[in-house]
Symmetry: C2
Subunit: 294 residues, 2 copies
């Protein structure tokens, strides 16, 4: 494994700092909404729970360590939003070596990242996912992405344009080729073949990012996190006070089923996490709070 403790701790510190900024920003939205609402709503607050990674199913290869912190808010705007940070390290078992770059001759790895999924109370507020991560084996790279999932995609043209513009700006600041490539990667990745439908309005998705300039790559990853927070908070504020009907709520609960199907059938992070002894509660934090398959 590449030994660069300074970079590792810098990346880890960033993911945790971004988590703190996101949690603060979302709590502010909860407060604004509670103030604006008639009646006395209690604004939602994040609760944090730390977990420690341990060997699972007595498989010593899944050790040895690290852990993470789950932050969850259940509120009046955010029905359930989970923001997980984790930093884990150890050795890949034989079955995973070769599947992960840079582990052929040396199975040791270190990985740190932030992962966020928000399911909203109001069916007019799009759900969202954002994740960025830094992985170190005998190689070192960044990955991540963000995608927007409105319940009624046909009514969210402007939100989609704004979301993509913000991510494109971050991409363009790093490399004029990134946006096109990462947008297409996102469209390809967040697609449900059995439904023949995309998960939502897309966004960007990238993995294996190692341009040779660690500082520039890290700056891009930070930028993605920052523009995500800014644009998503803006989209939430723009929609959270709209009225909705029981029928719209029903449609929201059904569309959430697609989210579940994608994450359990296709999402690599979910499957990889569950199979490598990751923390089940943290990984499945992405599941919507209430879902229907009528």
């Amino acid at each position: 494994m590449i030994n660069n403790e300074a970079r590792k701790s810098e990346a880890k510190a960033w993911f945790e700092a971004l988590r703190d900024r996101i949690c603060n920003a979302f709590e502010l939205i909860e407060e604004e909404f509670a103030k604006g609402a008639s009646g006395d709503l209690m604004p939602g607050r994040f609760e944090r729970n730390a977990w420690t990674r341990k060997a699972k199913n007595d498989d010593p290869d899944s050790g040895p360590g690290g852990g993470g912190v789950m932050s969850v808010l259940r509120g009046n705007v955010f029905e359930k939003v989970g923001v997980n940070v984790s930093t884990v390290y150890g050795e890949f078992s034989d079955s995973f070596r070769g599947q992960v770059p840079g582990t052929k001759d040396d199975p040791t790895f270190w990985a740190s990242g932030i992962s966020l999924v928000a399911h909203m109370c109001n069916p007019h507020v799009p759900a969202v996912h954002m994740n960025t991560r830094h992985i170190v084996t005998s190689k070192a790279w960044f990955g991540g992405g963000a995608d927007l999932t409105p319940m009624f995609p046909e009514n969210h043209h402007d939100d989609g344009v704004r979301f993509h513009s913000a991510l494109k700006a971050a991409c363009d600041r790093a490399n004029p080729d990134y946006y096109k490539r990462y947008k297409e990667w996102c469209d390809e990745y967040f697609f449900l073949p059995h439904r023949d439908e995309p998960r939502g309005l897309g966004g960007i998705f990238f993995d294996g990012l190692d341009s040779g300039e660690w500082k520039a790559d890290f700056a891009f990853v930070r930028d993605v996190g920052e523009v995500f927070l800014e644009i998503y908070a803006h989209i939430v504020r723009g929609q959270m006070n709209r009225e909705w009907t029981d029928e719209e709520r029903e449609r929201q609960l059904i569309r959430r089923g697609r989210y579940v199907e994608f994450n359990l059938l296709h999402d690599r992070g979910t499957k990889f996490g569950l199979m490598t002894g990751g923390n089940t509660e943290a990984i499945l934090m992405s599941m919507p709070p209430a879902v229907k398959w009528p």
Copy 2:
């Protein structure tokens, strides 16, 4: 592919006849419950929808044909119960050849079966799954199983004993070795490693059944279907009039999440079906009507 049209049509006819008997029996339960309830409940009725198998994603290998019928009842005892029968045939694509017995030199197959999943209104009535099938390639075999999933397993000792006794009797009539083997297979199969918990109280699971006596194997498969119907109807009647609390309903919705996790992460039938151009609506009929991951 083995050419024995008489056997194929006999098996297909049985799965359809069993479907009819199950649908009738469940509608009778709905009627009994509606009569016993105060107020004027409308007893649930099965609705049927036929589907035709067609090539998916322009993949000619997923053709050519067959289809099925979905029967769904949404009632006052059965919140959602789906009974699917399907008969499909064609050629496996290269990626599946070798994974399926008897397809190495000849990719043609024929498969027919019945599949049932019931999610119940009352949290005290266990959910259930039953499936039997006949598959023909250059080999021919039966598979199937049934397993019981109470929401509060600790309160269903007697139901579990009854369910297992009934299935054991069917196994014993065919072969004294079956029950032990098929019960263990079931325990192993319906297990959620990421939760470190079984799906429910188990039952039996078998595949690749070809004893050399087609008639005997087919008789066993019919017997499994019949004892399943008898014992499950008995269990439903025994629990359907119990009162339940909001808290118990909440716990039911959460436990249903495990059902979703199992079916999308692990169930071979689900994954196989979705990947081979099966009918998505029919395959995902197993999804619970309402679920929570709070």
